[in-house]
């Protein structure tokens, strides 16, 4: 994996170490980062995104503690052998439940018809493909 695959948004309420951690968890769950895949070094991620190296290493350590990453001597961090992809799309969708519920609530507060919200979401999903 290359360091530029990560997206970091300063100014978000979610701290940067958690942004990194949750992106990696999703990429591992979808199998886009398969077991054995090498992660970019802390230094590479830090310099590429101009973020503090301790922030990156905190995210890596957390995933290591969760068993999703393993530290290999001479290779750095790799996706752990036991870190299997979450098979069904429904199971993966469950991970977005709270964010989707939040969008739904905010859309109701703004009184936006469901059709428009779905349309916009669809075009956002297709844009990045």
């Amino acid at each position: 994996m290359k360091a530029d695959r990560l997206t970091i948004l300063p100014g978000a309420t979610e701290p940067i170490y958690r942004q990194i951690g949750s992106q990696l968890r999703r990429l591992i769950a979808s199998g886009q980062l398969p077991p054995g895949e090498e992660l970019p070094s802390v230094r590479d991620v830090a310099i590429q995104h101009a973020v503090n190296p301790m922030t990156v290493s905190r995210a890596y350590c957390q995933l290591e503690a969760e068993g999703l990453l393993t530290r290999l001597r001479g290779k750095g961090m790799v996706v752990a052998r036991g870190a299997h992809a979450v098979v069904s799309p429904e199971q993966r969708l469950a991970r977005l439940q709270s964010q989707l519920a939040d969008i739904a609530r905010q859309a109701r507060e703004l009184d936006i018809p469901a059709r428009l919200v779905v349309q916009r979401l669809k075009s956002l999903l297709e844009d990045s493909e």
Binding site: P15, I16, Y17, A46, I47, Q48, H49, N52
Partner: protein, 300 residues
């Protein structure tokens, strides 16, 4: 060339100050400021214009004398730093203006001769990367170019402590990103301690490990950046009759009363501890704060 005596690197402490108070005439600039910075920290100092950031930096470096209190760099009193320690400090003032009459190349050579560890290769690389000709006179540079030359000069020393006062204020976004990457590389590769002041909150959010917020001449927030959204929050309280806003709330940093009688507070808690009881009172709303909100909420 004389041998360099390394400053005392056994200490874990890069900077320390105790009860620094400073007045300019009748105006108080700093009031009993305490600060301890361990080596390897990337510390971002924020605060509004006139909050005392530059005075604090200059006092820490011994360029200005406090009215009360003491400051230390690598364990030595700031007002009597040894040459060896001075050589380990890179400092970029807000408006670099020394050596105005010199050509860039001559100035850098002159300064470089005073530092045994001067990295001439880094100087040449940086000048060409930033497209600055060494033949130009310093006085002819734009503020942004001037700032870049000062940064090159400070970084060429390979400092153990790099102090930057608003380093990005005159830089365009591309040069700013370059600078941030350079700072991160120094922190990652050499464990350089970096102390910088800024009011560009997003820069600070990227690269700092710790933030110190100077307001009303004192430090109101001093926190690990990664923990900030867990340790700091905004409380919105409706106007009475709840009555919870009548007394100070534990951990209160600032409070603002609105025309409808409601109150907005910024509160802090230690990592891992609970929010004060008042946060759970009926009608009270607690929400997470990111740095920019915190800055505006407190400094308003």
């Amino acid at each position: 060339m004389s041998a360099v005596v390394s400053p005392d690197m056994s200490t874990d402490e890069a900077i320390r100050c105790e009860r620094i108070t400073k007045h300019y005439g009748s105006r108080t600039v700093l009031r009993r400021v305490n600060l301890e910075v361990t080596r390897g920290t990337v510390l971002g100092l924020i605060g509004r214009n006139g909050a005392g950031k530059t005075t604090l930096i200059r006092t820490l470096l011994g360029l200005e004398q406090a009215d009360e209190g003491r400051a230390f760099v690598f364990g030595e009193p700031s007002l009597s730093l040894s040459d060896a320690t001075k050589q380990r400090i890179g400092y970029v003032p807000q408006q670099p203006d020394a050596f105005d009459w010199m050509r860039i190349g001559d100035m850098l050579e002159f300064v470089g001769r005073q530092y045994p560890q001067w990295d001439g290769e880094f100087v040449d690389l940086s000048l060409s990367r930033w497209q600055i000709s060494a033949d130009r006179r310093l006085a002819s540079l734009s503020p942004g170019e001037r700032q870049r030359v000062a940064l090159i000069r400070a970084l060429a020393v390979n400092p153990n402590l790099l102090v930057l006062d608003e380093p990005a204020s005159a830089l365009d976004p591309v040069a700013r990103r370059d600078l941030l990457q350079e700072i991160v590389a120094r922190a990652a590769e050499s464990g350089t301690t970096i102390f910088f002041s800024t009011h560009i909150v997003s820069d600070l959010e990227r690269i700092a490990s710790r933030i110190v917020f100077l307001h009303d001449h004192r430090i109101v927030v001093d926190a690990a950046l990664d923990d900030l959204s867990e340790t700091h929050a905004r409380l919105t309280m409706p106007s009475e009759p709840t009555g919870v806003a009548a007394r100070p709330i534990p951990g209160e940093i600032s409070r603002r009363r609105h025309s409808d009688g409601s109150v907005t507070l910024v509160i802090a808690r230690a990592p891992g501890s609970d929010w004060p009881e008042a946060a759970a009172a009926p009608g009270v709303h607690l929400d997470a704060l990111h740095l920019e909100d915190l800055f505006i909420e407190v400094a308003r």
